[in-house]
Amino acid sequence: MKLTGSKILLECLLQEGVDTIFGYPGGTVINIYDDLMDSPVKHILTRHEQAAVHAADGYARATGKVGVAIATSGPGATNTITGIATAYMDSIPMVVITGQVPTPLIGNDAFQEADVIGLTRPITKHNYLVRDIKDLAVTMKKAFYIARTGRPGPVVVDLPKDVQIATAKFEYPETVELRGYKPTYSGNMRMVEKAAKMILSAKKPVLYVGGGASLTDAHGELLELAEMIQAPVTTTLMGMASFPTQHDLSLGMLGMHGTYYANMAVTNSDLLIALGARFDDRVTGKIATFAPHAKIIHVDIDPTSIKKNVRVDLPIVGDLRNVLKKLNNKIAEHKDEIESMHSALKPWHDEISGWRKDQPMTYKSSKVEIKPQFVIEKLRELSNDDAIVTTEVGQHQMWAAQFFNFTQPRTFLSSGGLGTMGYGLPAALGAQAAFPKRQVIDISGDGSFQMNSQELATLVQYRLPVKIVILNNNFLGMVRQWQQLFFDKRYSQTCMELPIDFVKLAEAYGATGLRATKPDEVEDVVRQAFETPGPVIMEFKISREENVMPMVPAGAGINEMLLRTA
């Protein structure tokens, strides 16, 4: 039996086990939307295509499955760009389907035509224009395969309208063969053995963990390694939640707004073990003074990440979880050496405790003003262990990373690489769609929230009970902080002059709005929000000029932290 292209597309989604997609209709995808009415695939109509892609991204980060979004040609497709770039920078598996004008019109500046392949080439792992119905099923198979394997990433499939209407026999290939694409998973055993040796003789090791840990679900292996060798663990923003924040060995986050003790430990370490991390400039600060005494072991599935920014003494290309399994087994063979390592590490742990005591991650509390850090602490206290936290971008994002506790993997979803304001709300939407019963909290600033606030409608329509926290300082806080510290307090265009009544905004959409203006109201608002069914906005009027500290000024080494605002 022959099927139309649009039906074949939906069949491919079923074959890939896709249950939910996020999207927005239009002229060049109208056939797909028509067939969607008869398909078991659930579609969530966001209010903006950017949000559809972020929602698919949040869905993917929370579940580990490939997220799927769909948009029409032209403006629909261009609206997806920020979402795709966000997913690309953080290596999130995703397939984005865009409608395209009919093939005979491509290149004619047709109505709602945009060169989607050209536009998305630098922000996708790969992209396809399907020009013949015969190629559709195999292209979808390839798209999902590429999105989820190796270093994951978004793949765009651009589907002209005439291909959606054409018919062909549907056959979904069982496997794909791409002669140019063969990711290395296993990790070279000789390298692993060398790594084990280096680790066992280290005196000041640090495990530096990035997004690769959650992408490969390696939290178990990571915990095993850290405990076996008793090495301190620091994570990047993307590595957050892959290692329990409250663990004795946890140093918290490193880098620009990391903990003092994490940055000091890295600076003084003799062996830095980088696991699925890519030495981003927000992490390393000035490269010349980054981990100057350390030998560096770098495990990553993407060879381009290795030696891109820093010298590496021992590279291991492979899937992090696979490599850690091998490494753990290898190290475990050396019982005696592990024991002697434990005692040899004693001075190192003492040194770290010293830094920890010296400069703990803390803030000045207040009885008059609501401190944003205090709100995060209350959220942490009153939320469930398996709550999923998303963030927008700015000060609130850093406070969430600094003061929330994460115990379970895939519970912290934040735009690390691109730093996209407006990510958190739709990402929370996607995560909540994947886990309707879990607590999902978007920690936001008043600026970021307004970048995708229209998604309140989607939350209410689909009964997605996301709890939105707005740390309202009436500022684009993070930029204001830089202006305060580095531009003589010249607050150019960072004051949000018009105060918004976020409680009324929530109500306008049929959601619940709550507000706290004094510290003693915070707990009540949080409790009430968690008890209220459906989406809730909690607005906290916070101390307006609070800064995120400590901080590595741009261009400085991570050991040269600004500890408090002068």
Partner: protein, 164 residues
């Protein structure tokens, strides 16, 4: 330093822009790029001349490899290889210079492939250095137009890449 790389890629829609976009997006230099299908029509071979230090060259190789459409990369850095480039040079030929142009073309084993009363077109093949040399010699006669193919290269010896 100057490096020559051959890249075997899927002969697919848009593959050239993937490669050139990679170079421009990451700030790598392209001195020249030539591309054509191989014996196997599903594979194209690109020859790219680029420059940069070892670290950049390593990144270029890795980034090219990362493209889904890249099948194989042959980096000729430090290898023994044959490098050839072709040029067509349209040069003013009057009574005084005709003989000289012929003589120069002859020395470089070039050919006159088009003749008009006022101009000769010279075809020459050789290493880029040789092509530079003939251009320098012809320049005083008045070069009206010139096109160079950019070099193509092949490793020396019996070893070959099977489909290429």
């Amino acid at each position: 330093m100057r490096h020559t790389i051959s890249v075997l890629v899927e002969n697919e829609f848009g593959v050239l822009s993937r490669v050139s976009g990679l170079f421009s997006g990451r700030g790598f230099n392209i001195e020249s790029l030539s591309v054509a299908p191989t014996l196997d029509p599903t594979i194209s071979r690109m020859t790219i001349v680029t420059s940069g230090d070892d670290r950049i060259l390593e990144q270029i190789n890795k980034q090219l490899n990362k493209l889904i459409d890249t099948i194989k990369i042959i980096d000729f850095t430090g290898e023994d290889f044959i490098e050839r480039e072709m040029a067509l040079i349209k040069v003013t030929a009057d009574e005084n210079s005709r003989a000289e142009i012929l003589r120069i073309a002859d020395i470089f084993r070039g050919k006159i492939v088009d003749v008009t009363p006022k101009c000769y077109t010279v075809e020459v093949t050789g290493s880029p250095v040789k092509v530079n040399a003939i251009i320098d010699l012809l320049r005083p006669m008045g070069i009206k137009e010139l096109v160079r193919s950019g070099p193509v290269v092949l490793g020396r010896g019996p070893k070959g890449w099977k489909s290429g």
